[in-house]
């Protein structure tokens, strides 16, 4: 039994609370009693991946010697950088949230426990979160490799992931504190979210740069680099260490682990000293500034107009939310770059790509705004108690969801019409269809939530989001193939229509889903 108030005791408390929260998580939209807790589903998926993916790979590599060649070291390094950027994206947001999310923070900070200790435990919890994700991804391969593949040293990858998570947490904390000091607590949250999103996509974006700037007719991008690696016996020392650590070399593994623990401990101690004062500053940040608006009344709008005006005001007065919506679209940029670079210089495909991209963009934007307007209604009780059928609100919310993508995408299509009229016309039609379908899927499969949960909305309504993305991609493919003059354009169109038919719910079913939540 740990000493009350000690780091271990706090850690036990955090684990207990987190465990219970996880065990209560259920897939959306189903009756609670029948649902299996989300962690059990995750464990089942990991076991299945281990059996059906990890074991066959491990058996295949049983007699293969795994050595840190320059090519393998380069690939491992690149993988670790990718993992680190994704981890940083997560830990930065969590680091900022540690100062803002009140939860039990007021209780803890009002207790005689030193704030440094509270921060240390919070930081450890921050590190565990992304580590768990990558442990879950790597374990189905690493464990069979160690047990049946005869390569026990690859278990070191789990240690390296833990070390990376500690470093990502430390860096996240440093960025959060730097933002607090430089731009103040009020703007920190929004800016941190932007940095986190850019960090998440940075590696994939950066990886496309050689392909964009190096045009080699004979070799695809990257081939030149690999031939350079094949000509070498080894990479410069520091570039080999992470790879050697992943492959279980004792000294590099010890070095990486010690470095991570030292960085984490130093940063946690430094941030811990100012944690209480920064958390106190953050607690007043949201309410400290008076935001004045107009003082004249404009009564008399219809329900449609009043609801639409409300939705638009609430969206455009929330820069943090807008930035998150736009950043979600930003994640499509790497995908677009991959497609563009893979198609090389072929100008013939450009109108098809633009039409498809416009459709995808509109669908993603509409889906995000629809989630905010429909699922994240702030005062559902007010609407439910009003003498108005929910259908009337939905119409206004659907209009709000369509306005944003249409205003952003249609001018682009008008401009593109000067280059290719057919491509622009098909792109505009597909954009409207994609926005409409994404909005309707949000309405049919909504799960009432809070606006502040937008960042987690992808996970909380995973099924609806996957259907939304599938429909957008199918419509984008239809548009692109139609512009390219491919006869098979009807195939993705049928997919899109089928998904919409499957996702469609009656008004009663939607109302039941809302009241159940």
């Amino acid at each position: 039994m740990a000493q009350p108030g000690s780091i271990l005791w706090f850690l036990q408390h955090e684990i207990r609370v987190t465990w219970r929260t996880w065990m209560q998580r259920r897939p959306a939209g189903k009756k609670r009693r029948r649902n299996v807790p989300a962690p059990l589903i995750a464990v089942a998926v990991i076991l299945a991946a281990t059996l059906f993916v990890g074991v066959p790979i491990a058996l295949e590599l049983r007699d293969v010697e795994i050595a840190a060649t320059p090519v393998l070291a380069f690939l491992i390094d690149a993988g670790l950088v990718l993992i680190f950027t994704l981890m940083l994206s997560q830990t930065l947001v969590m680091a900022v949230d540690a100062f803002y999310d009140r939860g039990d923070l007021d209780l803890l900070l009002s207790s005689p426990v030193p704030p440094r200790r509270i921060l240390t435990v919070r930081a450890l919890a921050m590190a565990v979160n992304p580590a768990l994700l990558f442990w879950a991804i790597s374990a189905p391969i690493a464990l069979p490799m160690a047990i049946v593949g005869g390569h026990p040293n690859v278990l070191a990858v789990l240690v390296v992931i833990g070390a990376l998570a500690l470093i990502a947490t430390a860096v996240g904390l440093v960025i959060a504190i730097s933002l607090f000091s430089s731009i103040g607590p009020r703007r920190t949250r929004t800016v941190a979210q932007v940095i986190a999103a850019v960090a998440g996509a940075a590696f994939v974006l950066a990886a496309q740069i050689p392909g964009l700037i190096i045009r080699d007719e004979d070799n695809p991008p990257g081939v030149g680099m690999f031939s350079w690696l094949l000509d070498r016996d080894s990479l410069p020392g520091p570039a080999m260490w992470p790879a050697e650590a992943v492959l279980g070399a004792p000294l590099p593994l010890l070095g990486v682990s010690a470095f991570a623990v030292a960085v984490f401990a130093l940063i946690a101690a430094w941030v811990g000293r100012r944690f209480a004062s920064d958390a106190a500053a953050a607690s007043g940040a949201d309410t400290a500034r008076r935001r004045r608006g107009r003082e004249d009344a404009r009564f008399g709008g219809s329900i449609f107009r009043a609801t639409l005006a409300k939705e638009m005001r609430m969206l455009f007065r929330d820069p943090g939310l807008i930035s998150q919506v736009l950043l979600r679209v930003f994640y499509l940029v790497p995908l677009a770059l991959i497609i563009l670079t893979d198609t090389g210089d072929s100008a013939d495909f450009m109108p098809a790509l633009v039409a498809g991209a416009a459709s995808l963009l509109a669908g993603q934007l509409a889906g995000s705004v629809a989630w905010i307007a429909i699922s994240a209604e702030d005062a559902p009780q007010l609407l439910a108690s009003a003498p108005v059928k929910m259908r009337a609100f939905w119409r206004a919310k659907l209009a709000a969801s369509l306005i944003v993508p249409i205003v952003l995408v249609l001018p682009l299509m008008v401009a593109f019409a000067f280059v290719d009229v057919t491509g622009a016309a098909v792109g505009a039609l597909a954009a409207v269809a994609s926005a409409w379908s994404a909005t309707m899927i949000n309405l049919w499969l909504q799960k009432p939530s809070k606006r502040s949960d937008y960042r987690r909305s992808w996970a909380s309504t995973l099924g609806a989001n996957l259907l939304e993305l599938l429909t957008s991609m199918a419509i984008a493919a239809t548009a692109g193939m139609a512009v390219a003059g491919l006869g098979a354009a009807w195939i993705p169109a049928v997919v899109a229509v089928s998904v919409l038919v499957l996702a469609r719910r009656s008004e009663d079913a939607i109302l039941e889903r809302m009241s159940a939540a």
Partner: protein, 257 residues
């Protein structure tokens, strides 16, 4: 007021609950509840935590579907014609849920549109309500900058902007300072005197004792007793005891037929 006069002529009561029952996963939260609110009556619903007060109010406001039973608002079957019933009701939840990014005036504009209040009337009422609740100087401030008490006042203004004939208030005085709480109490009594009906839940027995024409005591989803304070004292055989003594005695009884 035309609808109110019409319903009075028809002799319909502002609120009639018959056999109202709500069961959550085999656990009855409200059980076979019969209740009648009279015109111009200020009725206080008292009960310990988890007694079923809020569930009852939410069913009347149309936020929860009853498992069984009838709800009539001025003679209108609220389960069959929810929109007609809601037109006459205002619901004030215990937790003030507002739109943070709207100003209080924009919030009232939105609520007035929901209940189709004519523009001039809505503007006039908004000014009266905000001045009465000392929010007029903050009419251009976004609700996210408000304290809990100010949010509670904003929600109260929203509840009253369509001049409801039946007002349902769940813990309406929570978070209000003494002077505003006094103002709200006066406002509710004025509304009752003007013929409007008000039903409120409260944990503050002194509020029920001072304000209510009749008091209903609910425990374990059942109406244990109702009447004026004197009637409840007689029923509990508590002489000139305070409402607190009567309340504690009644809720500790196993059941009263």
């Amino acid at each position: 007021m035309d609808q109110l006069a019409d319903s009075r002529q028809r002799g319909a009561q502002p609120l009639e609950l018959r056999g109202l029952t709500k069961v959550y996963v085999e656990h009855p939260v409200v059980h076979d509840l019969d209740l009648t609110i009279r015109p111009g009556e200020l009725y206080a619903l008292l009960g310990p935590n988890g007694a079923g007060k809020t569930t009852t109010m939410r069913m009347v406001a149309g936020l929860l579907e009853p498992t069984e039973g009838a709800i009539r608002v001025f003679g209108v079957d609220a389960r069959a014609e929810p929109q007609r019933a809601k037109q006459m009701i205002a619901w004030l939840p215990d937790e003030p849920l507002l739109y943070d990014k709207l100003t209080v005036l924009e919030y009232l504009e939105f609520v007035a549109a929901l209940w189709s209040v004519p523009p001039d009337l809505a503007a006039e009422r908004a000014e009266d309500l905000l001045k009465g609740l000392e929010l007029w100087d903050n009419r251009g401030d976004r609700c996210e900058t408000f304290s809990r008490g100010m949010k509670q006042k904003a929600v109260l203004a929203g509840a009253l902007i369509h001049d409801p004939q039946l007002t349902l208030l769940d813990e309406p005085l929570t978070g209000l300072d003494a002077s505003i709480a006094r103002h709200v109490k006066d406002m509710l009594q004025e509304r009752a005197r003007a013929g409007y009906s008000v039903i409120l839940t409260t944990h503050i027995l002194e509020v029920a004792e001072r304000l209510a024409d009749r008091i209903g005591i609910i425990a374990n989803g059942k109406l244990m007793a109702e009447g004026t304070l004197d009637e409840l004292r007689d029923r509990a055989g508590a002489g000139q005891s305070s409402l607190e003594d009567v309340f504690l005695q009644l809720v500790s009884e196993p059941s009263i037929p």
